[in-house]
Symmetry: C2
Subunit: 234 residues, 2 copies
């Protein structure tokens, strides 16, 4: 009976639902995180992940895409739910639960300009500033998840340009795993999966000799999955 009473009581208790975005990028061989100066009190001016309250008339996933669009101008970005943070006192102002979602975006000149306009900054993942609330915890959890997921799913490619070289891909994985990989074994492994399509172009930015460019072939990846073979890098 006391249970029922309390249940009825609780029915009235709505709370704020926010979504915060952990935005990863890759540039100059470094894994980077996009952080923002908070624009509202309390904690105005502190470093923070970008986030927003979820609207009553929008799906959670849509809210994440909206936040990203409003903050960076980017659309159709790879995004995946991490987990929800719901400690009762995680936000000092009011009771608020936050659904963290992480995004992988391709940094290029265009993006960088947009980002600057929005007052944001890319930080190297191992030189992050102190973030508000539980945002550092979110980043930590997201990085663990990224390390894990990049290994078993081809999500790393979301961080690279459409055309990339094998050394670039290796450098990305080294940044994610935070350890060095053997170039010969790495090349052998990724090529053996048959999901990379070799192009007739070379990228000369990385060396005088130039390295061949590749594209990720999604159809071949689907075939790989159907064959029962397990995608795994490192």
């Amino acid at each position: 009976m006391s249970q029922n009473t309390s249940d009825l009581y609780q029915v009235k208790e709505k709370m704020y639902v926010a979504t915060d975005c952990i935005i990863f990028g890759f540039q100059d061989g470094k894994l980077k995180l996009l952080v923002f100066r908070r624009k509202l009190a309390p904690l105005e001016g502190e470093w923070s992940l970008i986030g927003s309250f979820v609207r009553l008339d929008e799906d959670l996933e849509i809210a994440g895409q909206r936040v990203l669009r409003e903050a960076t101008g980017l659309e159709n970005v790879f995004m995946q739910q991490l987990k929800s943070y719901g400690k009762k006192d995680r936000d000092p102002g009011y009771r608020c639960i936050s659904v963290a979602q992480y995004a992988l975006i391709r940094i290029d000149q265009y993006d960088e300009k947009l980002v600057e306009e929005h007052g944001a900054k890319w930080y190297e993942i191992d030189h992050l500033p102190l973030l508000i609330l539980d945002h550092n915890e979110m980043v930590h959890d997201a990085l663990l998840q990224l390390k894990h997921n990049a290994r078993y799913k081809p999500i790393g490619f979301e961080l690279l340009p459409e055309k990339f070289t094998i050394p670039q891909l290796q450098s990305l994985y080294e940044a994610i795993y935070q350890r060095e990989l053997d170039a010969r074994n790495f090349r052998k492994k990724v090529l053996s999966l048959n999901v990379l399509e070799k192009l007739d172009e070379k990228d000369k930015t990385g060396s005088k000799r130039g390295a061949f460019l590749y594209k990720f072939n999604y159809e071949n990846y689907q075939k790989l999955l159907k064959s029962g073979y397990i995608f795994e890098i490192a």
Copy 2:
């Protein structure tokens, strides 16, 4: 400017936050799910996961433990967050986001009685009834997660009694993975991890000869982790 206006507007929009529990158990060689008859309109009497609104003054994790306690009488149960479900129209009555958490519990006679008192029923995982809302989707996602996590973390033991035999453990993993395992290879693998402590007792319920009982040794598991060796079963 229109962004700012809408942001301010949105600040007022709270919503219901619920948590739903996917409760797994293991009995008679089968992986089972605990489902409940919904007690409130709408959809009263339909099969459902057990859940509750999260209270303003309780952590998300605590809410999960409370739900489980109220529904089954069990305390200190293994529980882990799955993900949050936030489609805007997932609940026809009102806007509500649900944080799904999955629990692993040891079924025994005592538990079964409690469960019955609460009007719940254990269903085999591959003969589930139709559940309300997006609950079947939650179960599906939880099962995928369980398959994955049981492989890399010693959470399977949460489903077994404190003392168990190797054949029981194998049967559990077969139920989770939904495929048969080779008895010799399985035994070799789990014993090689050095996290099982062999007891001087035998369990005779499974055969005339009886099988030795083992206990999971958490300290040894910690040592295994520190050694850098990767826990993996199958």
